[in-house]
Amino acid sequence: MNKQFRIAQRIGLMFRDDQDLPQDMEAWIGLQLQAPSPAMGIANTRAKVSEWPDELQPNLAKRAGMWRRNRALNDQAREGKNGQDTEAARKANIRENLMRSKDELKFVHRNVYGADQVKLRLTAFWANHFTIGNTFDTSNIIGHAIDEGILAKLNGSFSDMLYGMTSHPGMLTYLDNIHSAGERSEHAKHCRRRKDCQSGLNDNLGREVLELHTVSVAAGYSEDDIRGAAQVLAGWGTDFTEELSNMRKNTGGSNHWNAYKKRWAEPGTKKVMGQTIPAGRGGLRKLTDFLANHDHTINHLSTKLCQHFVSDNPSKDQIESVKLAWHQSNGDLPTIHAQVFKLAIAAPEAKFLWPMTWLFQVIRLSGATYFKGWEDFDNYNDKLMSSKSVLEELGQSFWSSRQPNGYSNDKAEWMSAEMFERRIRFADAIYRNGNTRLPVNKIMDRIGVAEQTRVLVTSVGASPRDQFITLMCSPELMGLEYV
């Protein structure tokens, strides 16, 4: 593969046929990291690429309002009130108030059409690191967390991203923190006097912040440290159905992203891994800053970044160089990312691609559209599946229900007959119905495929469909080694 495509395969999503190839790839990477990231997409499969309409990208307050309306209308449907129990009303409720399909389509559009391909790969990495599984209660805000908690924070520090994602209502809901109260909190004390009231600590988020998001089990923390972290977190977050006005009164926060229920907070200072954390709202920032700069966090995340972009088994030197960038820049993400990319470009071995990354690259390389436009996401099409179904079938969606460790960077997790069969089927589906613009030969010439790939593609005969499937499922385009 020629240099532009080799680098784009590693750290980006490949160049569409209407995009000019950059001459200086190093400069291009730098520009990519700094460039703005509008959500690009198409209104329908014949339309020009343009920015997603504002009305389909509501802010958090609007999403909360939509969620409340959805729940209220569901109640009415159950009770048979206000004509809400008809099929049409149910559908309208979903269309107007639920964001999952729209957010997921926006995500795939960005990945198919966005010029900010390097940032989109980083977004996928970090959105996976800070996994928010779909528990239904999180479904209206997962997309918000990815856009505002990850993509918008790529040019800042890891500390900022960690604080933002730990306190994001999606994370606080997913890992049960919205129900957690300090055992000595006013709320718990009040609760203990009542018969029907249950209140106390829930350590789910505190545990995963330590294990998955920051220091990892290698740090050797204790159950007391986990409880300490959970006590710092107690009080953070609130049920998304809570009205903003009530919330302001009860929490002192101005929106759902900084909702902190003082009455649920554990009084007094806490200890986490030897660090003293003060009481009150400011405690969380103190905790996340401490964890963000911890040596074990830096080691854990430098290794994980290398495993994702550089090599299945990164060398000690490679990891050390990322740690050095981390230390020298005080956790500045663009600096860290730049070092990771330097290693990725220099790495000699192939790097297996996640199913979703591969899918986006196939679509871009062939100049296809494949996914429906935003005007059509509710309309059934017997050729084009919804983005939800496509990613579900591939076995990789940020809107799926899954465990907080997210998708694996280990190739072994993705090597199975069913997984490979899906690649063949989707290559076929894109060829048949994706509006591809480039024939196989053009694609091979443009990216400068390896001789083995050319031989493999011609070995399957003259059928353009078979050739297309073979090219896209070749070792070179899947990120596997040749014999």
Binding site: Q198, N204, E223, N405, F420, D428, Y482
Partner: protein, 385 residues
């Protein structure tokens, strides 16, 4: 240090079938194949053994966990009850076709899902020490094939090249690839990927329509295992046992998150029973979970990560029903680190007994080659005598 081997109390097998009608197990082995089959149900998230098989005879149970103990439990004997969601499983117990092992765990005490899941599938001595799984290694020794009902190939089955997976696809706008094309693609790949593409080619002509819920997959797996040349092992995963919050519904201890997931487990066992047909007589089904949960209830009607849990076993190969346990007690001093149910039976021994029974492998071979633990205690006669 936790007690991982059979301890001072001898394992007691408390008969359960007496409360139900006794049944008549039949037997008969297929020829040219291992003597039986194993189906593993992986319960992801850490199942609360104390709510699944509550030790109602332990005075500390209601003291510690009244708010989450199922009121409508089915009594098994004076000491143990069964969660009301496990209705089919209860019928199997009545017929002598189901047992449970209680206060049991893999030797892992750190309470991380992901380390724990790696241990129970890899069967290694420490987390992430194995690239293959204990079932995969056992199948490699037995020269028999297993199948996972999942999109990915789970760690537990890795280690034997004949193993494959099945998960029904639902893709519009594309056809099934021809075997010739896929074989050609396979030839362009290096060995591990080529092997996988060859498996795709081998099944590319099949057109199987199976719903994706775990119970339907279990029935399908059972049917496949009942075939003469079918797999002898299958693996199914059931998610969402991580019941930190609302493990039970407020005011109704028989429903809630755990109750719903246990219904799925019960349906999976029933699905296997239906799918296996006559092959049930040689079958063993067992559950695996990464850990149990705290004895105490947390602040959100749930439980936190703990240590020992319960393993559910079913199948025609079991010799009568019962709860196999060396009960450690629930008082503070009996708990592991003053918070969790102590493990008194190493669950690897239970897995080893199932391998011995179904694959016809020698215990010492399993202990050393599969679990890398030559002195692993043998508990075979407590389950299959």
């Amino acid at each position: 240090m936790s007690k991982l081997t059979v301890g001072r109390r001898s394992i007691l097998k408390a008969g359960a079938a007496s409360l139900f009608l006794a049944g008549m197990p039949t037997s008969g082995f297929a020829k040219g194949k291992p003597p039986g089959s194993i189906s593993v149900i992986i319960l992801e998230g850490g199942m609360d053994g104390l709510a699944t098989i509550p030790p109602i005879g332990d005075p500390d149970l209601m003291r510690m966990r009244k708010s989450i103990s199922p009121e409508g439990y089915l009594p098994l004997n004076d000491f143990f009850g069964l969660h009301p969601s496990l209705k089919f499983y209860a019928q199997l117990m009545a017929r002598g076709h189901a047992s449970a092992v209680h206060a049991t765990a893999f030797p892992y005490t750190k309470r991380s899902h992901f380390e724990g899941q790696n241990i129970i599938q890899g069967g290694g001595l420490s987390p992430f020490s194995e690239k293959t799984g204990w079932l995969g290694r056992a199948l490699d020794l037995a020269g028999a094939a297993g199948r996972s009902l999942s999109l990915e190939m789970p760690l537990i089955l890795r280690g034997h090249h004949e193993n494959d997976n099945f998960y029904p696809a639902s893709i519009r706008g594309s056809g099934r690839p021809s075997a010739d094309l896929v074989e050609m693609i396979a030839m362009g790949h290096q060995m591990d990927a080529a092997q996988i593409f060859t498996k795709v080619a081998n099944k590319s002509e099949e057109n199987v329509q199976v719903p994706r819920d775990p119970a339907s997959l279990a029935k399908y797996a059972g049917q496949a295992m009942a075939q003469v040349d079918g797999p002898v092992v299958s693996v199914i995963r059931v998610e969402n046992f991580d019941t930190h919050a609302n493990q039970v519904e407020k005011g109704d201890t028989d429903s809630g998150r755990l109750a719903r997931q246990l219904v799925v487990v019960d349906d999976v066992i029933a699905g296997y029973r239906r799918g296996l047909g006559k092959a049930w007589d040689d079958a063993i089904i067992l559950t695996l979970t990464e850990f149990g949960r705290t004895v105490a209830v947390n602040g959100t009607l749930g439980t936190e990560h703990g240590y020992a849990s319960v393993g559910l076993l079913a199948g025609g190969t079991l010799s009568g029903s019962g709860i196999v346990t060396d009960w450690p007690g629930l008082s503070k001093k009996d708990q592991f680190e003053k918070r969790d149910l102590m493990a008194t039976i190493d669950y690897r021994s239970v897995c080893a007994a199932c391998l011995e029974k179904s694959l016809g492998l020698d215990h010492d071979l399993i202990a050393s080659q599969v679990f890398h633990q030559p002195d692993l205690p043998r508990v075979f006669e407590h389950l299959f005598a």
